[in-house]
């Protein structure tokens, strides 16, 4: 009798474990910030996957057919919107699973025409004409994106609503704390002229009112003489003392900048997975770097 009961108990337990296993959402994202948001909101209730390797820029990535098949199998596919990740236009995904996390502020996208096609790195050509896509660098927008993710997950798993709600509230608090910090930092010297090495800070600049000019340099490459001349010319009208970089710049570039009186600082947009820490710690570090600039 006891053995039968024990067996029954085991059966019931394994079934419920299986059920819980099946209940886990599979969520695929198209960049790292969305993966971070989704993982924080879902906690243990989802497998959140961003399948690109750490060395590619997700904005200009082309996943293999195998990876596309993985995306097709997911319960939810989180998109950034704002014309981010062009590859989405060239693959087949189930519309039903797609979540455009920035749909709520679609009418606030920044459309610009900042240059013609240029080439760099192993990913081939890419263009910055069109819509700016680093929406999450406006942390208020990031919080809205997080909210959209929570809503989508709740639609899929209504029974977990309280969990998602609890987690997204905590995430929003973290993001809005960054937002507040940045606002107060910039408020000390709103006119401080700054340079950006690459046009990825549009929403950041708009939200926090930075006096920021952008060039089109790459961290790992030393700019050409033409680019240096253009910089010197622009420095006359825009006497910046700091340049924001997506990643640690080439030492030669940093040295030559310093000769022109411009210091380098890293403000990592964290579109791809950071080597150390997570989205929040990278952003906190970014804010700390900016704090030093404004001091």
């Amino acid at each position: 009798m006891r053995i039968i009961l024990l067996t029954a108990l085991c059966a019931v337990m394994s079934v419920s474990i299986l059920a819980a296993e099946q209940d886990r959402l599979t969520v695929y994202t198209i960049n790292y910030p969305l993966q971070y948001f989704a993982q924080r909101i879902a906690g243990e209730h989802a497998d959140v996957v961003f399948p690109a390797s750490a060395d590619v820029d997700p904005a200009f990535w082309q996943p293999s057919t195998e990876i596309i098949a993985d995306y097709q199998q997911a319960d939810l596919i989180l998109l950034n919107g704002a014309a981010y990740a062009n590859w989405l236009n060239r693959v087949s995904l189930s519309r039903r699973k797609l979540v455009d996390t920035s749909a709520a502020f679609r009418d606030k996208y920044i459309h610009g025409n900042e240059g013609v096609t240029h080439s760099h790195g192993p990913d081939g050509d890419h263009s910055h004409t069109g819509t700016a896509f680093t929406t999450w660098l406006d942390f208020n927008q990031a919080a809205e994106q997080a909210r959209a993710i929570a809503d989508a997950m709740t639609r899929k798993r209504p029974e977990l609503e309280t969990v998602f709600e609890h987690n997204v509230t905590a995430l929003e608090a973290d993001l809005l704390a960054l937002d507040k910090q940045l606002q107060s930092i910039v408020a000390t010297r709103p006119d401080l002229p700054l340079l950006a090495s690459h046009p990825v800070y549009q929403y950041f600049q708009r939200r926090y009112g930075l006096n920021l000019h952008s060039v089109m340099w790459e961290p790992e490459e030393v700019p050409s003489e033409v680019q240096w001349t253009e910089l010197e010319r622009s420095l006359k009208e825009h006497p910046a003392r700091w340049m924001l970089w997506e990643a640690e710049p080439n030492p030669d570039s940093a040295r030559r900048l310093r000769d022109l009186g411009v210091e380098s600082m890293v403000f990592d947009p964290a579109g791809k997975r950071p080597n150390e820490g997570d989205f929040l710690s990278v952003m906190q570090h970014n804010v700390k770097n900016l704090q030093e600039v404004f001091n």
Binding site: T65, V91, G124, D125
Partner: protein, 393 residues
């Protein structure tokens, strides 16, 4: 009695051809209307089951039947086009899951059905060989298409230009077959399924070409400006999407303006379905929502009106044939006068003779009846495929 049966049987076996002809006549008269009935019922069921399993269709205001035939049976009658923006509207409303359709082109005689992966889930289409659509320019073909064209995953299939004299120059697209669907015995067996974006590539709305700012062939360039390059039609359009050129495929303008033939709507529930229908009721709205079940019901009502006429025709033909059969029997009695006289002479009474003849006729009718049953069993068991091949073939 047993003797009458034996004798009648001997007679019938002796005059095999005559008997076979009679049996065939009687069987045909019985089978024709019955088979027609079975086939019509089956086609009604098939038409209805696909229509009934399709909750709502959104399309341009116009022939509701065209909308249904185009998106359920991939009929080549293309209804008025609608724009992709309506899909975004439905998405935004959250009332239904929209599945867009663009069914306007053909590949070697089979309809190219541009849709999204949701359609595969909705119809529960299983991929028997190969894999699901992943990249632009790929196609998953129906089982019948694969069989008739002898295609397997890895082969390619060329789209047919819409018209021979299309001035806009729709270049045929060489699509890559990546999967073959399991047979579903529906119109999907005859479909060349592609992603909606690939359907737009077929039309030339989404296209890829050489990078005009880097081309070395100056003859294609009309004007080269500071940051704008105007190219002429000699600029090569890719007829095949490959790993190397896929990045060059791009949308011109907003995808919201891209054309669709219909949008299949899967409402969350009855209530949201009603709300959605309400939104498109107004006759001034260029779009309408139809319920395919209703439309097909209407169509069937017409078919059954035709069937009544058909039944009457069959009845008349049946009567005529029955009369002809009676004549045949009467004539054969005259032909058999001598034989009847013989039976009479060797002692057969009139009733014996009548019994012998009746037994013969009974055997013929019985054989016809059996044949009829066999034929009906066959028709019934193949009615499914038969109707499918008649309807979708």
């Amino acid at each position: 009695m047993m003797d009458s049966l034996t004798i009648a049987w001997k007679y019938i076996m002796y005059y095999k051809a005559r008997t076979a002809t009679l049996i065939a006549c009687v069987t045909l008269i019985a089978v024709l209307p019955l088979a027609l009935e079975v086939l019509l019922n089956e086609s009604e069921q098939q038409l209805l089951s696909r229509a009934d399993s399709t909750p709502l269709l959104l399309g341009s205001r116009g022939s509701a039947l065209d909308l249904v035939m185009n998106s359920l049976y991939f009929d080549d009658e293309t209804p008025g086009l609608i724009s992709m923006s309506v899909v975004d509207e439905i998405d935004a409303s959250g009332l239904a899951i929209p599945i867009p359709f663009y069914v306007s082109f053909q590949a070697r005689g089979f309809p190219i059905v541009g849709t999204t992966l949701d359609y595969f889930d909705f119809r529960e289409l299983r991929i028997a060989q190969g894999r699901q659509l992943a990249l632009l320019g790929e196609t998953v073909i129906g089982a019948e298409v694969a069989e008739r064209l002898g295609l397997v995953p890895g082969d390619s299939l060329l789209s047919s230009p819409e018209t021979m004299f299309d001035l806009a120059g729709v270049y045929p697209l060489k699509m890559k077959v990546v999967g073959v669907l399991a047979r579903s015995y529906t119109a999907d067996d005859l479909a060349v399924l592609v992603d909606i974006k690939t359907a737009w590539v077929v039309q030339g709305l989404v296209h890829g070409h050489e990078d005009v700012s880097q081309t070395e062939d100056d003859s294609v360039i009309i004007k080269r400006g500071e940051d704008n390059v105007v190219a002429n039609a000699k600029l090569m359009q890719y007829t095949e999407i490959t790993q190397d050129n896929i990045d060059s495929f791009h949308f011109h303008g907003s995808s919201a303006d891209y054309p669709l033939t219909t949008v299949l709507l899967l409402p969350n529930d009855e209530r949201t379905g009603t709300i959605l229908r309400g939104r498109y009721l107004d006759a001034s709205n260029p779009y309408q929502i139809v319920e395919p079940g209703d439309v097909i019901d209407g169509l069937l009502a017409n078919i059954f009106r035709i069937k009544n006429v058909l039944d009457a025709v069959i009845l008349v033909v049946g009567i005529a044939t029955a009369l002809a059969l009676i004549l045949v029997f009467a004539l054969s009695l005259r032909l058999r006068q001598r034989e009847i006289r013989t039976v009479f002479r060797i002692g057969g009474s009139r009733s014996t003779i009548a019994r012998l003849l009746a037994t013969e006729i009974a055997i013929i009718l019985l054989a016809s009846g059996l044949l009829c049953v066999v034929a009906m069993v066959v028709v019934d068991s193949y009615s499914n495929e038969l109707v499918r091949s008649l309807f979708i073939g």
